[in-house]
Structures are given as C-alpha cells and as structure tokens.
Symmetry: D2
Subunit: 453 residues, 4 copies
C-alpha cells in the first residue's frame, strides 16, 4: 500500500500515485504523464483509475491522455460547470478498491461545485480513515480559494466551510494529500510543509480552526485573488480533455538565420534565462521570463495564440520551459535559440542590455529623487501591503500589460519585486512597450530588508 | 519542509531525507549513499546531520561514509553496546533545528538499548508533533523485535512497552516514519502499508493496542525470530564505521577462462538469475540465490570471507547483486559471468540442470509416496505453522546448511517454499552438499493453495 | 566535420549522422529515430537531409518519420521498383553540401536497381574522396547480395561488378561506411571489422579483388541466400513511408489474469528470455525467441498479423524486444508478462520445461542411436555445409515451420545449432506443433568442436 | 573489431577504445575514465592494455587510474624525460594482439622523445596497415608541435620529419587516429574534420606534403606556440601517475553564508556562466571563465594551489566545470554557488556588472577616439596577425596577468576577442587587478567582420 507524491514546480501542483498490490490510481495527473507510468511500473501495478478532485483551472489535466495510454477509468465529482467529456461521475458514498485499499468519495464543494475528496481505508487492518486526497478544499496551512463564482461568493464560502467539517470529522489520524503546496496561486497562505494530518491541521490551520460559519464566510469573501486570463482556456480544455504533452523531441534548435526568419514571421521571443543574463545581453523585443516563472506569469503576459521562440542557455533549459508552457496549454513553441548572446552579437546582430541598480543606488535616489522618476513595485497586492518602500507605486506584474496606459512613457522607472526576478520581467514588459528609461532593482525588497539598519 | 523516504528492497529498510530550506538530515542511511546526496541537492539543501535511530544489525550503516562526504554530524542515542566511533551521543530532551523544523529526541529503548526516536515539530505554525522517526520501536502494524538480549528478555520487552507509551503520547496527528517495512526480518507482522500515523496505529496495531505491560512482555518473549549469522558482522562494522560501498565500476566482467581461473582459486559461484534459469542450466557448484534474496539469505548461506563470483543474466543484474551484497558487508566480489549458459556449454564446459515438478506431480507422489522420499519445506517456521502440506518436513532455509547432518543423503527430496524461489535455493544447497536426488516444486504452497478443491 | 555510426544490433544495420558546422544528414535511418536527433543536437547541427542508399528490405526505414520531425528532405536514388512516396530522386552527378562537406552521388546498382552511394569531399582542403557511404554495394570483407531479381540474376550481378569498379576508383584513401556489418542477412561473408577503406578492401575483400566480370557473375549467382517472408512487408512499407516507432510507454505490463485473457483472445506468446530460462520453465504454447534473435528470426517464425504477448525477465527486456519487433514492422504487441515462472506456477498455472542434453549425451546417442531418433541441425545451409555432425539432418530454422510435414511426429528429436540458442527456438517450434519427444543440445556445435579429441 | 573515439571538449583531446572479441585497449585515456569502462562493457570486452602515445603535457593521463581499476598493462614508448612509474616500455618492432587485431609499435619521436604510434593490422584478412594511432605526430591537416625542447629545436623538428615519413609509408589505405582535433593547443592548423587516412593526409596536409627535410625544419622552427604554465604540472603528474578524477559527488553546493566564509578564507571565485550573465551581474573579485574555456585558459589564469569556488547557473554546470578542472589537475574545488545573482543581491550583498559595447559604439570611438582609450585585443598572436582592427593593441589573454605592468591603470579599455567570450575574461582580469574603466566588445571581431561594408 503506497502513496507517491509528484510535485510540479512553478504551479506547486501535487499529484499522486496510490495503490496496493498490482492496482494503482493516479490523482489529479498533470499533462506530461510519463512519471505516473514509471512509478506504477516500479511498484509493479497497473493504473486502473484516474481520480480527479475537481476540474482544474490552473493547469491542463492529464486525465484523458493518461486514460488513453493506460485504459484506466477517469472519475470526476458531480456538478461540473459543463459535462466532463472523458470522465464518469462519482458521488458521495461510492468508491472503489485497489487491492486492500478502499477509496471512498466525500463531496467537498466550495472551491468548485464539482470538488470531491477521496478517502483511504485499510480494508485488512480496519480502523478509521488512513488518508484523504483533499484536492483544493484543504491544504497544509490553508483552505481553497472560493472566488470562482462571483455571483454567489457567500454561498460557496459556506459550502467550503461545510466541506471542511466533513474532512475534520475523518479524525486526527488521517494523513492529508492536497492538490497544491506552497507557491500555488490556488491559496495564498499555504505552509511550506509538505506533509500533514487532519489532526495537525485542526491544531494549526488558521482557517480550519474557525468555528463560526459566518466568520469563515466573512474571511473568505474578503480575500483577494488574481485570476490569470489563461484560466478560462484551462477550464475549456479540461472539459473536453486534451491531447498529451507534445513530444519532447519536437523542440527545434534554431540557428541564427532560422531565428531571424521566425522573428520576421512574428514569433514572440521568450527569454527564459536568468535575470542577470537578460540584463547582460538580450535580443531586442524579447520578453524576460525566467524558466521558473513560466507557469505563473506566462498565462498573464503571453497570448496563447502566439508562436513562441524560446531563448535559453541550452536545450535542456529550453525543453524545461517548453514543458512548463505545455502544462498551461501553450503549445505553440516554434523552436529555441541556445547559441548565446556572444554568438548572436558576433554575427553582427544588435543586442540590448538592461541596466540594474543596487540597494545603495535606490536609497540615494529616494534621498534625492530624480525628476519624473517612478519606483514601480510589481509584486502581488498582499506582498505590497505587507511590506513596501515608501513612495513606491504598485502594479501587479500580471496586470502591467493592461495598465500601461496609466504610466507616463517619458518618466524613468526603477522596477522592483522580491529579489529582482519579477522586476526584470516587468522591466522587459515596459521596454517592449516602448519605455526606454527603465532599470531594475537587483535584490529588490530582499536587499532592502537585509540592509535596513 | 519535506520528508522523502528511500526504500531498500530485500532488507525492506527505510531511510529518510528530512529538511527545510537549505538544511537537511538523513535518518538511518544505508551504505550506498548517493541517493541521499541527490535528493538533498534536488531540494537545494545541505546535509548537516545524520540521525541514527539505533545501531543496525541487519545492514551496514552509511552514516560514517556519508559524514565523510558531506561533513555532516552523526547523532546516535545513548547506551550502545560499544561506543560508536563516528557518532556523537544525543539524549532525550536534546534536539536540533533544520530551518523551521524542530527535531527533538525521545529515548525509546527495547529493540536495542540505544534506540531513540526523532520527533518533528513545526517551529513556525506550532502544534503538537507533526511526525516521528520511530526506528525499530514502532512499525506500521507491528513493533520491534526484542530478542537481541537473551539474558534479559522480559526487561527489554518491558522497556519497549514503555517506549511505545511515549510514542503513543505524541498524539494521533503524528505521522510515523519507521526504519523498516513489510518483508523485513526486524519484525514479523508488519503491514504492507507504507504510511501511517500514531492515531492509525493506536486503532489497528495489535501490539500497540495491548494495555497491560505484563501481557505485552508475555507476547514479546513468546515470539520466534531468526538471527542470521552475519548480524554479528554488521554490529561490529556499525560500531567502527565502515567505508562507503565499493565503486560501481569495480565489478569485472569475466570471460570463460577468467571464470574458470576464479573457480580454481576457490571462488564461490553465486547464481543470481531467476529460479527457472538456474533450473534450465547452471554451472556445477553454484549456489542459486536470485538477486531479490541476496540480502535476506546471503548472510545465512555464504561465508563473508569467501571470494564470490556472480553469475547473472547481464552486468546490470550482477551490479544490483553486488550492491545488495555490499549492503550486508559482503564486499569480496571477484567478478561476474554474464555470457549465458549457451556460451558456457558451447565452450565445451559441463553444465547442470535442476529438475522441477508441478503441483500435480506432488499430489500424485503424496497419493502414492515414492520410497525414501522427503517433501522438504524450507519456509520460515511461522509460515510452516500457518499452512503446510501434511507429511512435509520443515527446515528453515537459513538453517539448512547447519542441519544437513540430519538428512539422509540417499533419500530423494522435493523442496518447496511459497512459490519455488527459496525452494530452488534449498535444492541448490542440497546439491552442493552432495545430494543428487533433488527436485524443486515450482509454484510450491502458492500452487498448492490455488489448486485446492 | 563528423561521421557518427549507429549500430542496430540483431540486424547488424549501420546508419550514420554526418555533418559539418550546423548542418547534418542522416544516412539510412532506422525507425526509432531519437538517436539521430540526439546526436545532431550534441553536435549543434540541424538535420537537413536524409540520405537513403536504397530501399531497405530487412528493416523499416525511419526516413519518413525523421523527415516529419525534422523537416529534412529525403533523397533516394533513381529506379526504385515502385515510387518512394516520401523521397526526392537524386542521380549521379548531383549532390548537396553540409557546411564544408560536399556530398555527391554515385549510382551503384546491383544489390537493388535503386542503389546509390554518397561520396564525401572536403570542400576546404580539397583532395580526392575522403569517404563514401556504400549502402549494400560494398561491405567490409564482402559485397552486396544480388538475389532480389530472380528473373535477371546475371544482369544484376554484372551491374554490381560495374558499381564496385566505380567505388574502387574513388581511391585507396577513401573510408567506407557500409549499411551493414557482420551478422547481417544482407551478405554472408562480412568481416567483423567495423572500419575500412577502399584501399584495405582492394587488398583483402575476396569479391572486390575479382578482376573478371564473368567470374564475378558466376560467383554471385552461385551464392545461396535466405529471404525471410517479412521482406515483402518491409518493401511495401518502405515505399509508402511508415509511421514512427511506437511510443516506448505503450507496452503494458500484464498481470496473470490479463495474460490469460490475452491467451484466450488468441495472442501469440513470444518468450524472449534466455534459452536456459525457457528450458527451466515456460508457458505452454510460447515460442522461444531470445531477444537477440527477434529481428533475425521473428520475421520467419511469426505472422505480422498476430497479436503478440512478450514473456520477459523484466520490462526493460520486454521493451527491448518490442523495439526490435518494431524495427521489422511487427507492431502488434499487446503487452508483456514479466512476473516470472515461479509466480505463474504459484498461481496454480501449468508450466512446461524443455529437456537439454550435453555433448557427452549426444556422443553416447551417436555411438548407440536410440530408436527413431533424429539429430536435427537448424543452422544456415552454409554453416551446415562448413562443419556438421555425421548423421545430422539439416533444416534451416527459418524453414522449419514450413517443412514440418517432412518430419515424423512420433520420432524423438535432439535439436542443435551453433550454441543451443537457435536450437531452443527450433525445439519450441516442434513442441508448439505437437511434437513431444524433443530435447535441445546445449552447447551444440561449439561444444562438439571444443570437446573433439 | 572496433575503434571508438572519445572526444574531450575544451582540450580537443581524442582518446580511443579499440578491440576485438573479448579484448580491448584504451589509447591515451583522460583522467575521468568511466567512459572507457562503459564502452568496453557494451562491446563485451575486457580492457587488457592501455596504450600511451607519449607523455601528455596538456592534460592528466588516466592511465594509472584506469590500470588500477581494470588491472590492464600500461605501455609507453622509450626515452621519456623521466621514467614513467606506472608503465612498461614498448619499442618499435614489439606489439600485442587483441583477438584478431594486431597492434605493432612505430617509434615516431619529434613532438616528444617518447612518442610512438600504434599500427593496426587485421590478422585474419591480412593486407597492409588498416589504421594507426598517431598521437601528436600526425593530425588531420597538421603535424605535432616541436617546441618542447628549446635546446634542440632543429633536431626534434627533423626527428618529426623522419617519423612522418614512417607514417606515410604505411600506405594510403590506413585510417589515422590522432590524439587531438581542431581547437587543441597541440597544433595550430588542425582541420575541423574528425576522420582521415594516410592517403587523404598525403593529398591535403600542407606539412606532410613538404618533401624537403630542411624546409620542414625551417617551417617548424618558425612556428609560434604558447605554453601554459600548468604544462609543467601535467608533466610531473604524468610521470608519477595520478589518482583518478575526484568523486562526482564531492562538489558541495554552498549557501550564501558558506560562500562568504569561503571568500573570507581566500578562495578564488571562478564564474563559469556565460559572458552575458557575468556582464549582467557577478560577485566582485570573481574571474569570468565560461565553462568551455576552463581547460584552455584555467591553466593560464589560475594558480593550481588556489582553493576554487565555482559560480554557476546550476549544479550540472558546476560539475562540468569541476570535471574540466580535474582534467588539467586543478582539484582544489571547495564548492559551488548556484543560487543566482538575484538571490545574492536579495541577501543584501553587493554585486558588480560589466559594461558591454556593440560594434557601432566601437566604430564611433574609433572615428573619434576618447582620451586615453585602449582597444585591447586578447586573441592569440596568429589570430591577431591574420585579421585585426587598426589601432588595436594586442596582448594574448594567457599573458595578460603577467603583462599588466605594461598597461596604464588610469586609461579606459575596451577588450575584444573573436566573439566577446575571451574578452569578458580579459575584462575580468583587468577588473580584478584594479582597473575600473573597462568594457567588453560583445561580438568582437565576428561583429566587426560581419558588419563590414
């Protein structure tokens, strides 16, 4: 009887292979499904079921792709917004067995109407629930967001409260297996801890500890969440069932003439190298999007209809970026340029750099502000409200392309975030839009805090 | 905050990498330590501590080897039989921190005098214990064996009872991380389940549920356990601290002349192929020991002073066998022969086969027993007592070499076990010792049970 | 400027990646094409051309699959039996360039009408030909077979003679890169050496040294070659262009009930384990076909329309067998059983063994032949004619299924080959057809020769 | 009979595994020897001999390490400067056999006194030499350098001439296998082609075509070669025999406090990231040395006694750099920092950037030179002499640390090379030495040439 967790970085999504003997199920698979098949084989088990806790909105489900390869049955809770073409509906009280492992369903709506949890029992030794896949209902240290039904915010928050009581009633001994970990956009306050139990959550989860339903609803409806535009795309694709992730061999290395031809054809350059590489030299018009930010900001800053060309240090990094893009449904990757900026420049092609400034320079400027200078903070609202530099202006990075009209094109800008990585992306967004007096605060709030007297 | 489990097959030993942020500890490392370093790097953490729950007797500890590579500090509980040269003593009430993870020590003697458990706390969110490394005190579905101090069996069983109460007091919410899983020789009744909590064990673990100390002592002292002779070797090596596992490149493929030279020099052939391969053709004098049985029976059937030559299907299998041997301190592997029996025979060399019989043949013989025929069951005592064929004689495979004197060399033998794998080993032991009328019951008790009317 | 050779075992087929700077071509790709893409990326080059030396008859070409992935142009010589749907025709005098590497075409018919050779020149340093891809015209130590046009044997042998003179005229300094190596069915006398030049071949290749055209024709038309029935399938597929090799994830591990269901559905079991494993225990009705023999004998012994189930030691071996099958167009692999015969038998299922005999037993039988006993040699005709045991009957293994009618079903058979591997296959063919008195001479001619006084 | 070439990038060193049947030899192994063992196993052969063509001066020989693992015999030519502790001497006329492959020795001094070539013969098919390992005597397109004996330049150049005649006499058909390819410091004019024969070299190698011994001596003694200071270290180590390359696990990831502690202890930071990353942000005092330049410039710019800390994009790149360092005997790598400059800056630590200029800026400056401005070209002398910008000053990068005294510390510098990569290294050397007005010409001569009208 085993449970193996698979972490998807960037999205902080968690999926699982669970099984006993020669039978296994996969819970909430991502689109690149090889990992699940590898694990099931290592364990000597066949994947007979795919369990979806809800229709995901932040990544493409691998359920239909995995079902096609393995012949497994996909199960999904009742009440989806639209029928899930590739899944059978499973309801509270129903269940399945995997060897001596019993799996039963608990309907736990609130995050979405179709959310269910899958409760594990040991059919041989008995006892109460040994574990539960909680989807986006209950996380380590937080609970699911409830902002997806703007017409009925109180109702769904109340539904989540009721669902949480069901989960809490499983008993302190039950291990929880949520669908996301710290860093996910699906809940702001998740703990960095990767393991927990109902008992530990009952002791430490500030939302689960709220006993009053109305108070819970008040707290949930006051939360602020961002909804990247690509969420709509995910929802559509996860209703229909998507094709598997594209072939890892399909990414094409581009020589300089190929790259230039692609640029002439209107491909968007996405530079997934480190912020300091982008600062040192990059191709004009490229968007900075370090590979670790692809899944979190790609859906805000890029059009899913665009043909993309990835600029990377090497093919392995380009391939990683392509996988990240494919997880959020961006499949139009025309190729990758990995020859480096020295070779690009040596071909006689023009390159750009992005000026960086240190914390001491920022302090100097704050002491004696340059004319028409804006210190632009692109972190999330909650980060900005938690700790900010006096005088900084805030626009969330994801909203920056849509709010450019509010910014004076002739002013000079110093962009900051937590460390400088998102600031470099923000700087690149400004530059692409025609702003020329832009620099990036390397170190950003980290440096600010760590050098405070 | 992460815990990652590493399973060592054969021994069913479990070790762990646990950490938070850029700090990690390894709990009960095995001798081939690369896996721990790989995991810590993937998590972006340095290994600063190595936590031993007790001095292992069933495998060589990798603590000193890992400490040498990483510079980590090795911690070990008080009261070892002999001082642990490479470790610092840690006592109840002491502890360490790994980022926001607090680790505190609970002395939990009984299995051994030096057994400790390591309790995990979340220093940021608070609450009770979130998990505990229980070593060989508490397993999923069972508790540790207490037969290592023959002079004071009741005392140590009582100590274990007290230790278990300490563990139970950590609260239902605490996840348990034991040092062994199902299949280990360190406890007979372990569940096949790989995850549990104090709460689930309190509900389902038949030994933990015993409330009466005397009753617990009675039950423990009545248990029967085997102690393979190599346990003594392990204990010695784990006091001194061993060298790391031998270089994976060091195994030498042997051509036929090399193999014959090795045989002339007195090397012991160990044939790690499947039982059916051994049955089909093998080199005379070879011991059958399918690779999955190396750690469990190698220590019973082979002399640690012997030079070994591994006969395998291919180098990967030979290498796997060599790693298994190294985990139990058998380092004298002179090389591997992987050319196959067809090539061996084609060189004009003599080969042997082992006759196999099916369940129908065994039933016929039982109906009308051949003269001087012995049906020999080599399973463990508890297996034999649970379900056996009427008329079968029982000698545990590990005891077979030592009890040959009790067997009539002129009788004919049909050897059986659970499926035929250990029976093939038993058959090979008899053959090596000069018995000629030997065959093996393929399918064994499995076939017997599955064809019962 | 690089040439990298890719050996395909079993078929002894050689393909190449050749290139300079950022441009590369692949010569005679096999169907599983990842290896070519990996090499071209490592070299920093794009594959712009795929060069076919002729329409292969012994394996499925990967040209169309590779062209689809890379966008490369496929080139093929003139005069194919049927138009090659996916290729452009290239003729003598035409060529292409890859960086500073010049590639020009030489029409070298004889083996097939559409055979061409691709000659390499260094465009920077000059000089004569630096190398040549000779396809199936010229091998190391032999020349191509000329038996594919039964209506005009002398004509095509003469064409090959003329083609060889063209190749010899390239000069002693030219390195040759043929399409097959020792062990291929495309030429019997190939040397085991993997590298040569026109100069070395002019000195040592017994066929290239023949100066008289008529003598050459006489020698070629007297050669005997086998044509496995699947060659027709290959020719058809290589005219149309095939799909790429099936997904490596697609092979399904089968539990015992799945295996039995497959057997009930008429799937053919193919046991790719070693001959000694098959001898020790196998499932009734399985064909023995050790993985190394899949490409050479699979096309003789199996029907391409059959659904196959692979019985293997483990999934890696099953996967290897599946790749071998896919190279010769056998794509109907329903799954693999890798649990081993002990587990099969323990489920109460019946198993079979195959008796083996040693050289001493064979000598005894020859001294005093048992009644109605046949010593059956299944090697190739040329092997049998070179060295055989007096009294042995010869039927080539590939012809055995078709010649069963000539054999007495009630006689007893001892099957032999070179070492025992093909003999085990032959024994399995007889058993499947209902012959019951069959054993296999392990060691076979190797043992016979090595124990001769 | 096979020959497999192993390319060592950076050094452009070529080593080989050659063998037949179950016997193989390795020619000129590098220090990280796993690759040779892997190849020999894949070919099913044991390494019985290690053949050194001469005592290498540009990398550490892996001969003694490989001999220890495999038990193989190391062979080395006569007349080394000092006795080779780990090798047996082999002389002209002597030889060995590997299956049907004959290997005979030709003494070919000139590059070094102890240089020999190993000639291959096919013992079965006969004929002339089929190939020859030429060491540093004969390359594709060039011959070995002869500047290692400053007391007797004409004599050794003459010896090389004589040796080349011996090699030429082997016949046009012989394939050559040299010890270096294009990019090596062991010969300036090597062709980029990786394969050749005596015949092709006789046609195209400008040095081999010289018929007059005196003319040859004149040409060789007029050549200019650089001798990095680490060559002396290599010579010493290759006399004694070195230990194997350090354990791949040994590189330690350093957190920021560890890094700072290392810097305080006087460790030298080596930044192996791309030049544009270094330009964007780097730690003050770090030397830029992109990973591909480690073996070619590490020996010029770093002290073998220094403790090094590698700054890299990730651990894989750090590990690659460590292997490169180990190949030239720099084993003192204390750890690696791979967290990136954003994290470094966010910790409040100071960072530096390096200004870059484009070709248009350089042209502007040349048109109207700034005061006290130096355009510094750090390429090799032969590159500078071949094509340079009017007014540029030349100092070879390897000589830069030793010639700083000649440069005005108060002038401003623009550093250039072929593409900008070595220029970034040169810029970092100046900065480390206290020069503050430094920028780097990205694109360098490539951009200059490609934008010329």
């Amino acid at each position: 009887m085993f449970v193996e967790k698979i972490k998807t970085p960037g999205l902080a999504q968690l999926s699982y292979v669970v099984g006993d003997g020669d039978r296994a199920a996969v819970v909430d698979p991502r689109r690149d499904v090889d990992v699940y098949i590898d694990i099931s084989r290592r364990e000597g088990a066949q994947i007979t079921h795919i369990l979806e806790t809800h229709r995901n909105e932040d990544l493409i489900s691998g359920a239909s792709a995995l079902a096609e390869i393995t012949g497994a049955t996909v199960l999904h809770g009742p009440n989806p917004a639209e029928p899930i073409a590739y899944a059978q509906t499973i309801r509270e009280g129903e269940g399945l067995t995997l060897g001596n492992l019993g799996v039963s369903v608990l309907e736990t709506p609130g995050h979405t109407d179709d959310s269910v949890s899958y409760v594990l029992h040991d059919r041989e030794l008995g006892g109460e629930a040994i574990g539960v896949f909680t989807g986006d209902a209950l996380f380590v240290g937080d609970v699911g967001r409830t902002d997806f039904y703007p017409d009925r915010p109180e109702e769904v928050a109340g539904l989540l409260f009721d669902s949480l009581q069901k989960l809490a009633a499983l008993g302190d001994q039950a291990i929880i297996y949520p669908a996301h970990g710290a860093g996910s956009v699906c809940g702001a306050g998740m703990a960095d801890r990767e393991f927990s139990t109902i008992g530990t959550e009952r002791q430490t989860n500030r939302m689960l500890r709220i006993e009053d339903r109305d108070e819970f609803i008040r707290r949930k409806t006051a939360e602020e969440h961002y909804q990247p535009p690509y969420f709509r795309l995910m929802e559509q694709m996860n209703t229909r069932g998507g094709n598997p992730a594209s072939d890892p061999l399909a990414i094409k290395p581009l020589a300089i003439p190929d790259l230039k031809a692609g640029m002439d054809d209107g491909c968007q350059l996405v530079d997934v190298r480190s912020p300091e590489s982008f600062a040192g030299a990059h191709i004009d018009g490229a968007l900075s999007l370090p590979v670790g930010l692809v899944t979190t900001y790609g859906g805000w800053l890029l059009d899913p209809e665009d043909q993309l060309i990835i600029v990377a240090d090497n093919l392995a990094q380009a391939r990683e970026a392509e996988i990240h893009f494919s997880r959020i449904g961006y499949d139009r990757v025309a190729g990758a340029f990995t020859d480096g900026m020295a070779k690009w420049a040596a071909a006689g092609e023009p390159f750009e750099s992005m000026a960086t400034v240190s914390v001491s320079t920022v302090k100097e400027r704050l002491g004696k502000p340059p004319e028409n200078w804006v210190l632009l903070d692109v972190r999330k609202g909650e980060e900005f409200r938690g700790n900010a530099i006096d005088g900084a202006r805030h626009i969330f990075l994801g909203h920056l392309p849509g709010q450019l009209a509010e910014l004076d094109r002739d002013a000079s800008y110093t962009v900051l975030c937590g460390s400088g990585m998102r600031a470099m992306v923000g700087g690149a967004v400004l530059r692409k839009a025609g702003w020329r007096n832009v620099d990036v605060f390397m170190g950003s709030m980290g440096a600010w805090t760590n050098t405070a007297e």
